[in-house]
Amino acid sequence: MQNEPIRKPSPTKIRAYKQAPWREQTRLLAIGLASVFGLMAMLALFIFTGAQAAEAGLRVQSLIRERDRQLRRLEAQEAELAQKQNEEWMRTRAAELGFKPAEAGDIDYLVVADLPATVTIRSSPTSLLYIEQDVALSPAYRETLLEWVLRAILREGGA
């Protein structure tokens, strides 16, 4: 094996080092510190993202509790309303107001073409719980970085 000839630093460099020997150390220190702070910046980003996700999770929990509460309120109020409008109550109230059931002779009949159906069934409060497939979370929220990169490559390749 043949040794490489040692290249001699330029006279300018030698002079500069002689005049300020701390320069090289400062540079090394700066590089070290930059690495540490770079790492810290990444960690900060990680904490920031993690905290945001956790906070979003808490918010979701809170919203779920609220949804549950509202669902229960809706169900209860619907039942209460139905109770206050039940057949017996309506009949009694109608009688109090002077109404009476119509007899056959009291009614006038006429033909109405294409009479639209008047029955409308209210949608159930339970439909609040139904989660549409369309609003499912994007895969970006579930995959790893590697998976994302692979997906991006495949997408690009496929395009």
């Binding site: 929990q61 229960r72 169900e75 059931p101 033909v111 339970t126």
Partner: protein, 651 residues
């Protein structure tokens, strides 16, 4: 240092300081200035599992009125109960730093406003704890709070469950710092309530009380029971239908209660919640107004006849839709304590005085008596064994298979054609008609009418009557004769109504049903399509018999006739097995308008008084039809015949 170096150093400083500042800010925001949600989480016990519950599906009438809904109540638990029990026994630290169970329960009472007998509740929990330790060596870890203790007739102490209302629970959660008060402010969480946990439960609510209770049914709490593990999620089914639609459609109405892991990772939360699919709602064929009219008519009929119980079915013979189904006495679904007494009245029979029946229309077969003659005559006409013009000489008695058959009041009606036989409801004539038909074809026709078989109605539990056939141990030749006029055979009022609906609907029986639509959680609506159950007789036979029955009522001047509408029908008066009393069951089946039947009404009144001949169907049940039918016609918008023919496009 030159300017360029100075700039570079500044840049490096900023690059390093900004991330640091961001870290500091985020940590400060998270730790020093937490959001309301985080603060609540810090101060409240953090559960590892969360109960997710979906309410039971709603039941509505055909016009969307709610017949069964849900409301919520809350159970209260004390976690780490052993610590509080220990302090209760041996005392805690001074200054209230270590609260005892009494302190905790008193705090719950204060915060919620619920009435609690603290001393009794603590004593009961201590008793339970001691019993658990003695029997299983396990202390009580979670205490379920109770409202108090009562002593039953046997001297045994029973816990009265504590259920908080929405308002009471709200007060408790505000005191726990879990939710803001009315002004939107969060309170400091009370230390006493740190281990208090509430759990919401849905409860069935029946806003119409007893209306259509026979059809709607009842859903009861089944207790916690054993959870079923599905894909790692423990699922509890807590309610089960006892009868009616609640029971038949239990699987699709049933709400689920699930324990899911409670995490702050949003993706995991939503994926867990996806499991809690809500149940479906059902819309009944029952019309609330027609049901109420039917129940009122039944009550009035039973009162007038001094009967013990009774039932009415109103169905559309063209679709099989049951528009109303009433029985008396009926249970009040808001008062479960009265159920058993009502069921006993419905089920009491001479040979089974302690029997219980939940539904007189679908679960209580009876010997129908003369309404059954419609089926005998239909079979005979359809087979050609007789025609409407066939004559029968009635002497008031006929001997078949060694048994002498008599008419009601042992009268003889002389020479009669088949319309006369139906008009006077002559037992001897129908027994003779059955012998003309012969046992083979007779029972074959009864099979086609599904006598002795379930109708398949979507209500539970349906009970079939009994039809003995040749070859059965107790069948004799005389059985054919008695069966011909509806004795010695049993059927429910629903089976009878469905069988006779073939005569009203051109020979076709439609499958009876009480559910019209099923509304899926995503809003899709599944509408039930009417399905024919069978065609026991031809359309021509049905038309002939229908005309005979309409004429019978008109010639008789029946109390069932309805002004303005042509109707057909048949009365029935049946003896009650074991035939030791003079009690009867009075019935009437009628339908109309005859040229386009929209409703068929079957009325049954048990044990009417014999005073003023009220034991007969023609006296007790027929007038109920005359009172009820025009009300239903009005509610359905069916004009009197003369007006209808004018309005009709062909009129």
């Amino acid at each position: 240092m030159d300017r360029s170096l100075h700039r570079r150093v500044r840049f490096a400083q900023l690059s390093l300081l900004i991330p640091l500042a961001l870290v500091f800010l985020q940590l400060s925001r998270f730790q020093i200035l937490p959001t309301e949600d985080r603060r609540a989480l810090d101060e409240a016990p953090y559960p590892l599992n969360q109960h997710i519950e979906t309410p039971r599906g709603r039941i509505m009438d055909r016009t969307g009125h709610l017949l069964a809904g849900n409301s919520s109540q809350y159970r209260v638990y004390v976690d780490n109960c052993q610590v509080y029990l220990y302090r209760e026994q041996f005392g805690g630290l001074a200054g209230g730093a270590s609260p005892s169970l009494s302190d905790v329960i008193a705090a719950v009472a204060r915060a919620s406003g619920a009435e609690l007998d603290t001393r009794e509740v603590v004593a009961m929990l201590q008793e339970v704890d001691a019993a658990l330790q003695a029997e299983y060596g396990q202390p009580l870890s979670t205490c379920t709070l109770m409202a108090g203790v009562r002593t039953d007739s046997g001297g045994q102490k029973l816990a009265i469950p504590l259920w908080l209302t929405e308002e009471e629970n709200s007060g408790l959660e505000v005191a726990q710092g879990l939710r803001p008060d009315a002004t939107g402010k969060y309170h400091n969480a009370s230390d006493l309530l740190y281990n208090i946990r509430t759990e919401a439960w849905f409860f069935r609510n029946y806003p119409e009380g007893s209306l259509a209770s026979e059809v709607v049914g009842y859903s009861r709490q089944e207790g916690l029971g054993q959870g079923r593990s599905e894909e790692g999620v423990i699922r509890f089914y807590r309610e089960i239908g006892d009868w009616g639609v609640e029971r038949f459609y239990n699987d699709i109405l049933q709400g689920a209660r699930e324990d899911v892991s409670w995490t702050v990772v949003p993706v995991e939360i939503t994926s867990n919640l996806d499991r809690a699919q809500p149940p479906a709602d059902v819309v009944l064929t029952i019309d609330r107004e027609i049901q109420a009219e039917t129940e009122a008519a039944l009550r009035e009929g039973i009162r007038a006849g001094e009967g013990s119980r009774g039932s009415i079915i109103v169905l559309n013979p063209q679709t099989g839709e049951i528009l109303a189904m009433a029985d008396f006495p009926s249970v009040d679904l808001q008062d479960p304590n009265g159920f058993l007494d009502t069921f006993k009245i419905k089920g009491r029979l001479p040979m089974d005085p302690e029997g219980q029946v939940v539904s007189l229309n679908v679960a209580a077969p009876y010997e129908p008596g003369s309404t059954f003659k419609v089926l005998t005559m239909a079979a005979a006409l359809d087979s050609g064994a007789v025609t409407p013009g066939t004559w029968f000489m009635d002497s008031g008695r006929i001997e078949i298979g060694g048994v002498v058959i008599h008419n009601w009041q042992r009268r003889g009606f002389g020479l009669q054609d088949m319309t006369g036989c139906m008009r006077h409801s002559i037992n001897t004539c129908l027994a003779w008609v059955a012998t003309q038909l012969g046992p083979g074809p007779f029972y074959e026709y009864m099979d086609r009418f599904r006598i002795g078989r379930l109708t398949g109605v979507d209500m539970s539990p349906e009970v079939s009557g009994i039809l003995r056939r040749p070859g059965d141990q107790s069948w004799t030749d005389s059985t054919l004769a008695t069966n011909a006029y509806g004795q010695g055979v049993s059927a429910t009022t629903l089976q009878m109504a469905v069988a006779i609906s073939a005569v009203a609907n051109g020979g076709v029986m439609m499958t009876p049903h009480v559910v019209r639509q099923i509304i899926l959680p995503d809003g899709r609506v599944h509408t039930v399509t009417p399905v024919p159950l069978g065609q026991p007789i031809s359309a021509a036979t049905a038309e002939t018999l229908e005309e005979m029955l309409a004429v019978s009522l008109e010639l008789e001047g029946s109390k069932a006739l309805v002004e303005g509408y042509r109707v057909a029908g048949k009365t029935g008066t049946a003896d009650i097995p074991p035939y030791v009393t003079t009690k009867t069951v009075a019935s009437f089946v009628g339908w109309g308008p005859v040229d386009d039947p929209q409703i068929l009404v079957y009325i049954r009144i048990d044990e009417p008084t014999a005073d003023d001949d009220r034991q007969y169907g023609s006296i007790t049940a027929a007038p109920v039809f005359a009172r009820l039918a025009p009300r239903i016609f009005a509610l359905l918008g069916i004009p009197p015949d003369s007006i209808r023919w004018t309005l009709s496009p062909n009129g």
